[in-house]
């Protein structure tokens, strides 16, 4: 099962390595990972999306809680939290198909934030379902580059 794990940590070097080490030491591959400071300067929040069996993950979460720099761990099963991801992607779009791309962006409330003669850079936010649907539609134009924040989540 897929889990979204939100970890509140002290904003210090090495914390990410300690947390990543707990995952890698058990052979878990992290699907997405986001780290950024919170409204409290000394704290950061990590959001990790990972697949794994429930009991192993449960154990791992308790071991995360044991780390000295970890303040709080929340494990969101699907549906318990609102989540969003931000994606930047550069796709091929010249004069012939640019308007088609813009139409799709409109429907998905994505924004074009840079245009050149051969490509556009698009910004889109949304939950996983929306992002995936959008990506499927624009893929045929040719994706040149993509950068994603990974999932962010907050309890409802």
């Amino acid at each position: 099962m897929r889990h979204t794990i939100s970890v509140l940590v002290e904003n210090k070097f090495g914390v990410l390595a300690r947390i990543a080490g707990l995952f890698s030491g058990r052979g878990f591959n992290i699907d997405t990972l986001n780290v950024a400071p919170t409204h409290v300067e000394t704290l950061s929040r990590l959001t990790v999306v990972v697949k794994g069996n429930d009991s192993t993950l449960d154990q791992l979460i308790r071991q995360l809680e044991r780390l000295v720099n970890v303040i709080e761990v929340k494990d969101f099963r699907e549906g318990q939290a609102v989540d969003r991801e931000l994606v930047l992607l550069k796709i091929s779009a010249d004069g012939n198909n640019r308007s088609e791309v813009m139409q799709i962006c409109d429907i998905f409330r994505a924004r074009i934030i840079n245009v050149s003669s051969a490509d556009v850079v698009i910004e889109i936010t949304g939950d996983e379902g929306k992002i995936n649907a959008f990506l499927r539609l624009v893929e045929p134009f040719g994706v040149i580059e993509m950068a994603r924040t990974g999932k962010l989540a907050m309890v409802r």
Binding site: G14, A17, R18, V40, Q59, Q63, R66, V68, N69, I71
Partner: protein
């Protein structure tokens, strides 16, 4: 979440100007550290210079960083206080890794301070540079790389606090040389502030009443107790609970001595080579109190078949131990000293009276009587006999350390421990070479007690250089080497599971294997080695000389090596083969 807590900081104390290295020493003194096992090098010599100007810390020079770190562990295990070791960067630091992993496995409060290269050289593959912070991440409770000299007082304070509090464990403090040299005025923290520290967890009365309810209904209750009891200093509470509840006690090897093994309710320790009675009783129990334990595979065997009929109550200070190896019925997150103390109060209040469990008690006492640890007498000195004689001559009051292997199991089997912190052994990691250095550490901590390393010839040789430490530092740690010229435990497995094919388990010349019957083949000559170190030593071969030789060792003030020549043919029994169950126990 504690982010919104307003903290009232008391007025800080500011020290005079000093270097970072001076501050490290100063802060260690303030934390009550009295002994340091430290081997100098380029990146740590600043701190050694500071140590020469301080008379409150005894600095002991080991002859290998691994020996120093094992000695620090021995000191910690004997006292419950933090054991502190120090090494230089690079190879000095990497030589500490085994002890750090060992302390992590056995929840030993170890603080490892390492010198690091100048910050400007970090990441440049400088001479003697390793990323020690990164290297030790999976085996520490916590670690620090000091980047600002002002942080030192807080970090040293936190390191000692973290190592010794909650579930104890190793803490690494890596200090670049420029930090050690930098001058500043230290600000000493008035209290330890760790954001994630929730204090000691306590079981609720509701949970504990449920436990007592289970107990009053149980026909075959058992206590399975481990190192957590010793870490929490809960020996007295455990004794009161076992006696009032009239419950037999079997410990883990980490828990040896936490309940007096001489007590009528004691079944000593159980698991792979533990007592038959302990293993049978846990297996048949209908209620199992797992207190301060972690369901290690050497205890459980095939874990799905462990204590199959028991309702299991698991009390531990570390929530991540709950349901880790074994799914239990009642996981309780609590400091064990509190939980046991409160259980005793609740029993007192409810006038709890143990129900009549005569059939169960008769059965267990029957096993205890029928299956003591036993060995066949031989014309040679047997390792078991040597340990039993040592037990008699020390009246069971010594601190025993061990290496790893057959001798380690026999030491735990044939020495009866009436006190906790008296059996000091590398149990989780199983680090050979642990015995003699840890005996040095324990002897430094407890100079008035006999401290004897019961060792094997393989394990002893791994840190034999520490004889020099004992001699020069005048530390009266004894070594009784049960010399069978083989790596006995592996030999035993070869005999049982590998058709006795010797896969590099013979320590001398394989064409002229030494034994009590072939003294010419004995290799190496430990007595001569000891002589080289200036340590008195004696070899004993004849059975009739054994007791007197042990007396000679015990009478010696300083260090002493007793080389006991024994046959290699003995097996440690009983034995539950790895991954098997109590039903498959080999008894004789």
């Amino acid at each position: 979440m504690k982010t919104d807590t307003v903290l009232n900081f008391p007025k800080p104390e500011i020290g005079p100007e000093m270097t970072g290295a001076d501050a490290v020493v100063d802060c260690l003194v303030r934390e009550g550290v009295e002994v340091l096992f430290a081997y100098p090098g380029g990146a740590s010599m600043e701190m050694h210079q500071s140590l020469t100007r301080n008379d409150k810390i005894r600095t002991i020079l080991p002859r290998h960083e691994q020996g120093g770190s094992f000695a620090a562990e021995g000191y910690a295990r004997a006292t419950g206080k933090a054991g502190v070791c120090m090494a230089t960067s690079g190879p000095g630091a990497t030589n500490l890794v085994t002890a750090i992993a060992d302390a992590y496995m056995d929840s030993t409060p170890l603080v490892a301070i390492t010198g690091q290269v100048y910050q400007k050289f970090i990441g440049k593959s400088a001479f003697q540079e390793t990323d020690f912070f990164g290297m030790t991440l999976p085996i520490v409770k916590h670690s620090y790389l000091v980047l600002n000299v002002e942080d030192l007082p807080r970090i040293i304070n936190e390191a000692i606090h973290l190592a010794t509090s909650g579930r104890p464990g190793p803490v690494v403090v890596d200090i670049p040389k420029d930090i050690q040299q930098e001058k500043f005025r230290p600000i000493y923290p008035q209290k330890t502030e760790i954001l994630s520290d929730q204090g000691l967890p306590q079981a609720t009365d509701e949970q504990l009443n449920e436990v007592l309810d289970l107990l009053s209904k149980a026909k075959k209750p058992m206590l399975y107790v481990g190192g957590g009891i010793i870490s929490a200093n809960a020996e007295q509470e455990l004794k009161a609970f076992a006696e009032r509840g009239d419950i037999f006690v079997a410990s883990t090897l980490m828990g040896v001595g936490c309940f007096p093994e001489t007590h009528p309710l004691s079944l000593k320790w159980f698991g792979m080579h533990g007592t038959v009675a302990g293993n049978y009783a846990v297996h048949e129990s209908d209620l199992l109190f797992a207190f301060g334990v972690r369901f290690d595979d050497r205890i459980t065997g095939e874990v799905t078949k462990f204590a199959p009929n028991a309702t299991i109550v698991h009390v531990d200070i570390d929530r991540s131990e709950h349901n880790k190896n074994k799914i239990v019925d009642f996981p309780i997150h609590s400091d064990i000293k509190y939980a046991l103390g409160r259980l005793n109060e609740l029993m007192e209040r409810s006038a709890h009276k143990a129900p009549d469990r005569t059939p169960w008690k008769d059965k267990v006492l029957g096993w205890k009587k029928k299956y003591p640890f036993k060995y066949e007498e031989s014309k040679f000195i047997l390792p078991q006999q040597a340990i039993r004689t040592l037990y008699e001559e020390t009246k069971g009051e010594a601190i025993i350390t061990t290496g790893v292997g057959q001798h380690q199991m026999w030491a735990a089997q044939y020495y009866d421990f009436a006190h906790s912190r008296s059996f000091i052994s590398s149990l989780g990691l199983g680090s050979m070479g642990y015995g003699y250095p840890s005996a040095i550490g324990a002897k430094v901590a407890c100079p008035d007690r006999q401290v004897i390393d019961i060792d094997g010839d393989g394990s002893f040789l791994m840190n034999v250089q520490e004889l020099a430490t004992a001699k020069i530092e005048k530390i009266g740690a004894k070594a009784m080497v049960l010399n069978n010229q083989h790596l006995g435990m592996v030999v035993q497995w070869e005999d049982r599971f590998y058709q006795s094919v010797r896969g590099h388990t013979i320590l001398g010349d394989k064409d002229n294997i030494g034994s009590p019957e072939n003294m010419g083949g004995i290799y190496p000559d430990f007595v001569k080695i000891a002589e080289g170190f200036g340590v008195p030593a004696r070899r004993v071969v004849r059975k009739e000389d054994l007791r007197e030789a042990i007396q000679e060792m015990l009478a010696e003030e300083g260090p002493f090596l007793l080389d006991v020549i024994v046959p290699y043919t003995e097996h440690v029994l009983p034995m539950i083969p790895a991954g098997k169950t109590v039903d498959e126990m080999i008894i004789e």
